[in-house]
Assembly symmetry: C2
Homo-oligomer: 665 residues x 2
């Protein structure tokens, strides 16, 4: 790598024309080429036949030899013949409630001895390909499970940098990593399919395969599992606003590319001489609905783009006519961050002349404008319109169809937004230890009171039907073990006891306990639906599952076979460690680290980059991202390049996002 | 750059987790974090709060300081207000035969004094954004002309590497360069529009602007010019084959991305357990129609992809079932190259088990197979079918609509494939010196006999109506000056004279001359329609136009004002210097350098890469390409990544290629 980087440095220093070509001799090498006689003095365009500067022949020779040797040994002439394939993979049997094919064996399950060994292990099926799924894949130990990833896309996306990709600061290629590559470490498999249903009694997951023929043309099949992990993420919520088909959202690479194309198209159309000034202002008006990190970062990136690229390459009047609007329903943007950070970001946006509209709700979105209402302090409601040709919708999340389906099959699932799981991330109501859910698709239960009877049972030592203070201390520990998120509410043990001991008899009755536990539960804040949470949950679950696999013998010896009690025996509950949240706000960044905040200009921006860089899923994306940023810094590519794909020419197989967010464009 | 490269090297050595964060202190820094008490030993996923290895703090500090300072000085807080814009740019007047707006002034023409000076120069309009256009833009001298580039796309593409991009070896971003950036050197302008018509008498070019509303919604306007250069390229010819809407072609970035998506989709579908073996073989059958460089290189890249990526990440049975077919109408592939090269490539393909079908013509293309006929040596015609889910059509070129229109407006234009130009690249039949054509859209006249009377007039010194040998020698030089391509036919001066002097009277009559010149003309091979030719023509024209501008005063003093004679006064005719053609054939490459050929394995492949690397249009793409190749070599990304754009979700503004190659997908 050192050699290659040095090579890059050397070659870059002679960027233009001195390229070695030691073996092909140019024609007419011993006579003056006839073309130089005439008056045009036509210099050949390609100068590769000039030999390079003698100043570093040894370096180049070494680099080239190194690269040459490496390449020579990595290229393979392998031919593949007569690969063993299980008959069950070629002709799966049918079964299950809908009598669909059950794929007990996959194509590559017996193609070599290692795969065959793994095929005999318990089958772990992961539904989804985002942060949660990757967290599991990276922390599982190879050889413990036969892993299958069911995902409509073949790659995972580094979502925090999507706003940068949407404007072109980083290339989309730096943000994706193929799932097959991540799963290869475990000899895992990828199935390009979308989960649609589940049969928990028979441990079957029903999926619809992604067919080249287009959406809806895939086959429905059953994928059997021993353990299933639901990590499908979420969709965006509409809040009942009409016209969302005219909006963009920013959840996938495709979204980022669509946004990039629209932004550039707007500028190009604005630069045409036939565009009226009014139309130009409409084309260059960018509206972001939602003042959370995604919306704020996208607005900041668009601003950067205008400052760095538009000024340099487009008519300056285009820069003059640009307006960026952020419409936020709360009083402040970045309201999930600390107050200091909110204020800092708002001040910066005001300096940048970004139009911040808070306490506003979007009423509807039309093809050429956005209508919103503002609640003024004196109680009136004003309606405003913003003409625009670009609207980004980035507010809130909602359940995706598969999550809704699973939720409807479970008893006691009352949560509207996600599947309820316990502190061990097991889905409540499903057979214990068989179905897990992590990430946006799940929410950890916060209802302490539902364990009332169990808790009383375990802590009431003298069985008097009441809980005295010592028993209460025992109960507090039991609660913390079951629902670690309640910890912050249980710090003042004595005070709580006294507070709820309404009859002051130094003991808590069941009624008093009910009230106490109810109120504790109400105060617990659910974990946010962020990448950090999903990644930590994934890593926790991967380690736990590996432990379960390794200690199966020990557990059996202790009488624990199968679900109940197994998770608790090998691991504690999931605990989320909030490392802080970041947001980029335009050559500046803010960090909310819980007890401290940090915000600032370039230094913070570099910290922001450092964090995201270290969080990359692979060396490849790390390298690519570093390169994107180096190139940007060196100014060699301050002009963000836009590939314009001929969208529409090829029917898209990758239609999953469209189906999921059907009304988004 | 050294610092940045070293930085990349340093940071890469610590790729995982040691990232400096000097300013944010982690919470709980002076007490054991509570999360480590429990049994899970949950290590935080993100380790950025560890400080890095002390072994290179100085280096890092220097790098960071360097990058920091650079960034600090390149970021701008400029605000743009009250930009001067010409009223003619905001409200163009109307005129011309169709009474459309005439854009005499563009939006940025007077936004600063330098632009205003340039706006007074002669207006040069370049239609097209490919090799020819870029050749001109790079060789014009700044300040000579007000340059406008009319192109439906905002960027230019490095087409020779499209086969690599189609399979994912290089990223499309490395192959595109924004036209605005290339034109910025000349303070040139880009108009996103498609040329549709021309009014040569009034020097107006009619264009249709690209509208965000979609194809057909743009406005028609006139762009006035003093000099017009047609560099629109060509489309693919259909040879009357039906079913071409099921085929891909490879002319643009969009094509490359569509092909990449289809290839990956095929493999994913083939890996599904529900795919029958027969369907799998069809999905993994890749057919390339056309045995020229594009087709051969794409077949070779697909083969590489199978050898390097499929084997490692997909079920091996997928590799086993792959078949690649190349259908060529001639007897040999790469038939425009030397024979040795053809044979080498064929031998390599046979070793790679690529199915080569020569002397075959594709009859029709169906959604699931290709039907072709083979002429066997004994005269029979056999029909064959190949089941497939991927067909690449890469045969021959045809005129695009604008070229056809221009051709129809000119007298004496009989060429079926391109606009005829003289040796100074001026369009024949257009007002002299006002309209030029280069690249695929043009063909240099080879008809010597059309100059018969002029030639006789100039060489017949004694005016006897016949040409003796001395006068013949004079005529030969005159011919070479007008039509340099005839040179190779005029080497044997004496022999030609004797051969055509049928009545052996040591002089050539008009009739004999007619026959002689006709036969010479017939033997001249037109220049191939390649990037090399277009680029050299562009560079030639750019230099000549700059000379014309600079020497306008001198020319006027000599009585040359305007078109006729001006080009000849400042420059000789265009001469093409063939530097050789290359093709990549699968970890091997072939070079045809005219008199010598070179072919070989890895060494040749590196030469191939060197040449393309040196031919990049900018440092940015050079750097990106080098990085693509380094990453590939280092094996850090042997897995070609595929972004799956949500094609179809956003109506495409960039519809030019679709309209141009309407029946391609």
């Amino acid at each position: 790598m050192l050699a290659a980087a040095r090579g890059m440095q050397v070659l870059y220093r002679f960027p233009s024309r001195h390229i070695p070509l030691w073996f092909a001799h140019p024609p007419h090498s011993h006579s003056t080429p006839p073309v130089l006689h005439n008056k045009t003095c036509l210099r050949p365009l390609h100068r590769w036949h000039y030999f390079e500067d003698a100043s570093s022949p040894l370096t180049r020779a070494l680099i080239t030899a190194g690269i040459f040797l490496h390449d020579a040994f990595t290229y393979t002439d392998r031919h593949i013949d007569r690969v063993p394939v299980s008959p069950l993979a070629l002709h799966p049997g049918r079964g299950g409630p809908k009598n669909l094919p059950i794929v007990e064996r996959l194509l590559s399950d017996i193609e070599d001895p290692e795969n065959a060994k793994i095929a005999e292990k318990p089958h772990l099926v992961i539904v989804g390909g985002g942060w949660g799924a990757v967290g599991i894949l990276k922390s599982l130990r190879p050889g413990d499970y036969h892993v299958t990833v069911v995902s409509p896309e073949t790659y995972t996306t580094f979502t925090p940098l999507l706003p940068s990709a949407a404007v072109g600061t980083v290339s989309v290629r730096s943000l994706v990593e193929p799932l097959r590559k991540i799963a290869a470490r475990l000899r895992g498999h990828l199935m390009c399919a979308r989960a649609v249903d589940i049969v928990m009694s028979e441990r079957l997951l029903e999926v619809e395969t992604i067919s080249p023929g287009g959406p809806g043309k895939g086959e429905h099949i059953y994928v059997p599992y021993d353990k299933l992990i639901i990590a499908v993420g979420s969709t965006s919520s509409t809040h009942g606003v009409s016209g969302l088909e005219h909006c963009f959202q920013l959840k996938t690479i495709g979204d980022a590319q669509a946004i990039r194309k629209r932004i550039i198209d707007n500028f190009e159309a604005a630069a045409l001489p036939t565009t009226t000034p009014e139309e130009r202002r409409r084309l260059l008006s960018f509206v972001v609905c939602g003042g959370g990190p995604t919306g704020v970062e996208t607005a900041a990136e668009i601003f950067d783009f205008c400052q760095e690229d538009i000024i340099n390459y487009y008519p300056k009047v285009c820069r003059e006519d640009v307006s960026i609007h952020v419409i936020q329903s709360r009083e402040h943007i970045l309201n999930t961050y600390s107050e200091a950070i909110s204020r800092y970001a708002e001040k910066k946006f005001m300096n940048d002349r970004i139009d911040l509209v808070t306490s506003a709700r979007v009423g509807k979105v039309l093809p050429d404008r956005v209508v919103y209402t503002v609640h003024t302090p004196d109680g009136t409601i004003e309606t405003h319109e913003v003409p625009t040709n670009f609207v980004l919708w980035s507010t809130g999340i909602a359940m995706n169809p598969f999550t809704q389906r699973v939720s409807s099959l479970l008893p006691n699932q009352v949560h509207k937004k996600a599947i309820e799981v316990d502190a061990h991330l097991r889905v409540k109501g499903a057979p214990t230890g068989e179905v897990y859910a992590i990430g946006d698709a799940s929410t950890i239960e916060t209802s302490v009171v539902s364990y009332l009877l169990d808790l009383v049972d375990e802590s009431d030592k003298n069985k008097d039907g009441k809980i005295d203070f010592d028993e209460w201390r025992v109960m507090v520990n039991l609660i913390k073990r079951r629902i670690p998120m309640a910890e912050s509410q249980l710090e003042e043990v004595r005070e709580l006891f006294d507070l709820y001991d309404s009859d002051a008899d130094n003991s808590l009755t069941l009624n008093e306990l009910t009230v106490l536990l109810q109120e504790i539960g109400n105060k617990i804040t659910a974990l946010p639906a962020t990448a950090q949470v999903a990644a930590q949950q994934g890593e926790y679950l991967g380690r736990k599952l590996s432990k379960l696999a390794r200690q199966r013998g020990t557990l059996a010896a202790n009488g624990i076979t199968g679900g109940p009690g197994a998770d608790e025996a090998v691991s504690g509950p999931f605990r989320y460690f909030h490392l802080g949240t970041l947001a980029y706000i335009g050559n500046a960044a803010v960090f909310d680290l819980g007890r401290t905040s940090f915000m600032g200009g370039l230094a913070a921006m570099y910290a922001w980059r450092s964090v995201y860089w270290s969080e990359q899923v692979s060396s490849r994306t790390r390298a690519l991202l570093m390169i994107d940023w180096i190139i940007r810094v060196c100014g060699a590519a301050t002009y963000r390049v836009y590939e314009h794909e001929n969208c529409g020419l090829v029917p898209s197989v990758r239609s999953a996002p469209k189906a999921r967010h059907g009304w988004f464009r």
